[in-house]
């Protein structure tokens, strides 16, 4: 069940943050298409709303607000599932089919197969999956239902500034590279399905500079798991070997063997 992604045919987004005007049409269109309930939020003195992804919010605009000499400057960042080429969530998911990759390379979820272990929450390099009242995984699935119908994902369709561009990933990257954009996520984690053209260092957007599967998750699934299986069978083998080479310590060895008849 190795998770492999076809880099040549892979679909995805190119998010050009310099074009974003923070209108949040993407948030609204996503909610509308996916029939997600509104979340009640509180005013915390910022235009950013909601302040975090929720089980009913698959993508949102993160407002990076900077105050210099009393003037506010904004940067906008579309936060969502990155559809990693090497997806931490899929690596740890114990329930086949709960998280899977489409032929377009998109990581989708199936609530019916989800067993609520929440391993994906811990394994995600970007802290994206959310669990709601139904105790099942939810996250952006790039509107696979729309894609399968030949349509553009709802967020990209609604974006008035073409910040969100959907298409063949390799073509989107080629175009952005030709336009001399600084790209984020081209090669990390076997390439992110959502590639960003950022206006500053990734850290400014709260992104890891070199995104990777968390170390303990890597050790758990790629080191301890295989070595553990080997270790278990080795211990069985060692005991059998001991029995046939050195053998058991029989009590009767030292004494006249007597028949006890207790067995």
């Amino acid at each position: 069940m190795a998770d492999t992604v076809n880099q040549a045919t892979r679909k995805g987004f190119l998010v050009d943050t310099s074009r974003c005007i923070g209108c949040r049409s993407c948030q609204v269109a996503c909610k509308q298409w996916n029939k997600l309930e509104a979340d009640k939020t509180a005013n915390k003195g910022t235009f950013e709303n909601p302040r975090d992804l929720t089980p009913a919010l698959y993508n949102r605009i993160k407002f990076i607000e900077k105050e210099t000499d009393g003037a506010i400057s904004w940067q906008f960042f579309n936060e969502r599932c990155m559809h990693c080429g090497d997806a931490g969530c899929m690596k740890v998911c114990p329930s086949p089919g709960a998280l899977s990759r489409t032929s377009d390379g998109i990581v989708v979820f199936n609530k019916d197969k989800c067993i609520s272990c929440k391993y994906c929450v811990s394994a995600c390099p970007f802290n994206i999956p959310r669990y709601g009242a139904d105790d099942k995984v939810s996250k952006c699935h790039l509107c696979t239902d729309r894609i399968n119908g030949g349509m553009t994902p709802a967020c990209a369709k609604a974006c008035p500034t073409e910040t969100l561009k959907y298409g063949r990933r390799s073509e989107l990257i080629a175009k952005a590279t030709a336009a001399k954009k600084t790209l984020y996520g081209v090669d990390d984690l076997m390439g992110l399905g959502v590639v960003y053209a950022l206006e500053g260092p990734p850290e400014q957007y709260g992104l890891p500079a070199r995104p990777s599967i968390p170390l303990s998750i890597f050790l758990w699934k790629d080191v301890i798991k295989p070595l553990g299986i080997l270790g278990f069978w080795s211990s069985i083998g060692a005991m059998l070997l001991h029995y046939v080479t050195i053998g058991p310590k029989k009590v009767d060895d030292d004494l006249d063997s007597r028949e006890d008849g207790h067995e």
Binding site: Y131, I217, G228, G231, F232, S235, H242, I246
Partner: protein, 204 residues
Amino acid sequence: MSEYIERFRTSERVLHWVVTASFFTLLLTGLGLYSRLFHGYFGLFGGGMNAIFIHKISGVIFFFSSIYMYLNHKKDVSSFDEDDKLWIDKSGGYLSRDASHFNIGKYNPGQKLFALCIAAATAVLGVTGVIAWLPLYFPRFIVQVSLMMHSLFFIGSIMFVVVHVYLATIGNPGTIEAMLYGNVRKIWAKKHHPKWYKETTEPQ
């Protein structure tokens, strides 16, 4: 005079089998969580969600019964004397066919070590298990480390248990009786635990 002496009281034996039963329930319910290779084991419990539920219940039972068992034997298993050192030097005679004699008390150093390791593993598995149970209430980093530690200490435990089962059954014929009927043959006690045999049979 009887050929047998009592090694474990009824309450001790019942406690041991509660620990055993919950351990193997944890093993079977946890295998599917350990790797998708063992996904089929979920079928024994009617699916992954049921398996996780039973894993949690049996985890609580295992944690408290195992810790209680350790506390009951704490005095016996946490001190090592000179005779124990001789046993350790010769690996308890398990690496040779030659007859070996050690003046061992109720538990040999291997058994003591097993008890201490399982007690430590119980504590770690219990704490990391609760964190993995409620991952949304702990920092992500803590949950990630817990998931790793949980698998690591599980592996350590199951390997120790394989050795424990071997030595308590076919590796040392006559030993299992102590945990089944509670009584062992006196010649068994004299061979494996002479110091304990002396202490229990000689009038104080």
